[in-house]
Symmetry: C2
Subunit: 438 residues, 2 copies
């Protein structure tokens, strides 16, 4: 099965926005084992749209269209699709009522031009939009299924999962082994090529497959199982996931949509433990990640961004002697920061970062990229230095992810390890540095 | 002039990465007044690539290709382009030497397969890549100019500006009025439709144009001037920019690539003043933004993320009586936080945020979205409450931008205003809420 993604809109083609809908849709198609072959974007121009629709139907089994369903003059998807394939544009009374109801709920009158959104090409199957005014629709043309979705990312995402994927499954587009089950496993600390080598033999044929995706500093695994029945697919998937987990152990920090800070927050909330952070080189990023999770106030007490040495002394109680003897970027200072913030805030966990994110500020013995991370908790304390040869932004991002991972590992009783592709302070560079994940 | 952008790579088409190259290239084309009509992505598949090259040449004057120039088997751009248009693939000795030199500089031997990157279709014009191993190239086919660039974003960006745009200008692709000058003006606080209405009459015909782009919470303006000579184009651009600045005044916070935190940092550094921040609802984001700017240690002393009330009292000296009488989200507490962090850190500026970013935590009198921002500096102090009806993430982002903008305005002697599309606490909702920028 051969899919194509077509997004419509001047703002996309002119580069006024980065279109993340295409990668989202392609990734979701892969969860039902449909491979996207083409991604195309055209302007809100009837001639260009017609050409694009014709080409897509001539070469693809499934076409996902996003954009052009709004109420304005520029929104032409339904009318151009109708004229391209010689269909009438018909009013769907039920959709008109739904749109009217939507405006009723938000307490505004429906503008006249919103009525346009209730017109669809003849024989269209309307797709509900529970969170916006633009319904989508599906038509079948020359054995190609064309799904039209709104361009608003959260509406598109919800309709893809609730309306499109079930229809693809129901119509048997996936062939005989048509039930697909999949899961996203989130990993941190091991490079993509290492993961690939360690897992290569697990996902060979027999309806199972293993995909990789990198989003610095994480690597995601996407095991997929396909079978004739749901029971069989679920059993296959469970077996594959179990085998992966056995090999990777604590490298897998979570599943699905939750980032590491949400996993850490969930563990803290569950155990009714609290955390406070002391940041030098990460400059507030660690606190910001932790507080990005809704409900963080139940476990996150606060933090100190101690950029200046006087702040490390005055606000965190770091001994001036340690700063003088070892410098700000050192294990003794990192530990004193973590202990200082923990005792002053009265938290269970204290975490600290101090380093040289660059681009300047390095010396012969303390190069740009050096960072020390420390953690103190009821079970102990730990500090270690690393050299991350990355630009300022990635240096901070990786440092924060490592600090969060140590909190998770400390709570679960795992060893506190650094990323395998990165270098511990004083050691030789690692053998390989391929891939964007670490 | 009609342009098309073609990106090549399985990882793009499958949705493993969000392809920001396309929007970057389209936006850069607009700076020389070339409109992109099509964006296409195909896999590393010779047949699909051939079809895409043929279609692009048949309908576009300029084609920008990204990806497929690497050293691996999957990298097929040069060889498929050559075979599509019946050209030989020829070794360019100078490029081979350059690639060898690149590896020499980073102290590694050149792998055999890197030699592949020195082969180009007959009659290609090689485009230097000063920061990577993959040179690009240009060929002309049936009056269409095809530029091939590497997929690595920073290499592509640099080569677009240094190699592609000058060639487009030199070849007279832009017609008679071929000298283009442009500038990016960054604004905060005024909605896109308001900006459009205020400036609509300024950029009408006569070789001047005004583009808009929104990147929450900012809006960018892109004045463009075109003329027969550089002198004339520069004069036209200067006149247009001057007219825009006269109307918008302090709403324009900067130009070019520098975000607001860099502008604020530059002003602080220039005046040798310092800043410290006290954050509740923004949870470290304000500190993180300020410290994302290289060299921030010369003016950023540090911050306190005071999530828990005890931290507001203990670390910042907020009077318990204020917390009891007014609650944590109030002007008296915001001011006490800003004054507290300023006096404890000994900084010139103290800035504080306290609010309810949601999704829960609101009450009848203090709804989700309420936020108080405060600033204390040698020239005075100020606090104000706003209601931002946005999701948690955008609420934090907008609050931080407002706080940074107040620091800028305070330093430059402008009034401290909030975003025009947002609501002050206690006032009625604003009349319009269109557009993503505020």
């Amino acid at each position: 099965v051969n899919a194509e993604i077509l997004t419509i809109g001047d703002e996309v083609v002119r580069g006024e926005i980065v279109d993340s809908n295409k990668s989202f849709l392609a990734e979701r198609l892969r969860t039902v084992d449909i491979e996207c072959h083409y991604q195309v974007s055209v302007r809100d121009d009837p001639a260009d749209m017609t050409d694009a629709f014709r080409l897509a139907v001539s070469r693809s089994d499934v076409v996902l269209v996003s954009g052009g369903l709004g109420p304005t003059r520029d929104d032409l998807t339904a009318s151009v699709l109708a004229s391209t394939f010689g269909r009438e544009l018909l009013l769907d009374e039920a959709s008109l009522e739904t749109i009217r109801g939507f405006f009723g709920r938000i307490g505004r009158p429906m503008a006249e031009n919103n009525a346009k959104q209730a017109y669809f090409p003849e024989a269209a199957d309307v797709l509900l939009n529970p969170i916006g005014t633009a319904p989508g629709f599906m038509i079948e043309e020359a054995e190609t299924l064309i799904f039209c979705l709104p361009g608003v990312p959260r509406e598109l995402a919800r309709m893809m999962d609730e309306q499109v994927l079930p229809r693809l499954t129901a119509r048997g587009v996936l062939g005989e082994a048509s039930v697909v089950r999949t899961e996203l496993l989130r990993t941190f600390g091991t490079g993509e090529s290492t993961l690939d080598a360690e897992l290569a033999d697990l996902a060979r044929g027999d309806g199972v497959d293993l995909g990789f995706r990198t989003a610095f500093p994480d690597n995601y695994l996407r095991p997929v199982a396909r079978a004739k029945t749901a029971e069989e697919a679920e059993a296959k998937l469970a077996e594959l996931v179990e085998a992966i987990r056995e090999r990777l152990g604590p490298v897998i920090y979570g599943t699905g949509e939750d980032p590491l800070e949400a996993v850490v927050g969930g563990l803290l909330a569950e155990r009714q433990q609290t955390i406070a952070v002391a940041e030098s080189c990460t400059g507030g990023l660690l606190a910001q990640k932790l507080t990005a999770v809704p409900g963080a106030s139940s476990y996150f007490l606060g933090g100190v961004v101690a950029y200046a040495n006087e702040v490390k002394v005055g606000m965190l109680g770091v001994p001036e002697a340690d700063l003088d003897a070892h410098g700000a970027v050192s294990d003794p200072v990192a530990i004193a920061m973590a202990e200082g913030v923990r005792s002053r805030f009265g938290s269970d966990f204290g975490v600290a970062t101090t380093g040289i994110s660059g681009p300047t500020g390095g010396t012969e013995t303390k190069p740009v990229g050096l960072v020390h991370v420390a953690i103190c908790w009821p079970g102990g304390s730990r500090s270690e230095g690393f050299v991350f040869p990355l630009d300022r932004e990635r240096h901070r991002v990786l440092t924060v992810q490592l600090a969060l991972d140590w909190v998770r590992r400390a709570m679960l009783g795992y060893a506190l390890e650094g990323p395998t592709l990165m270098r511990k302070k004083g050691s030789a560079p690692p053998p390989t540095t391929t891939g964007a994940g670490v």
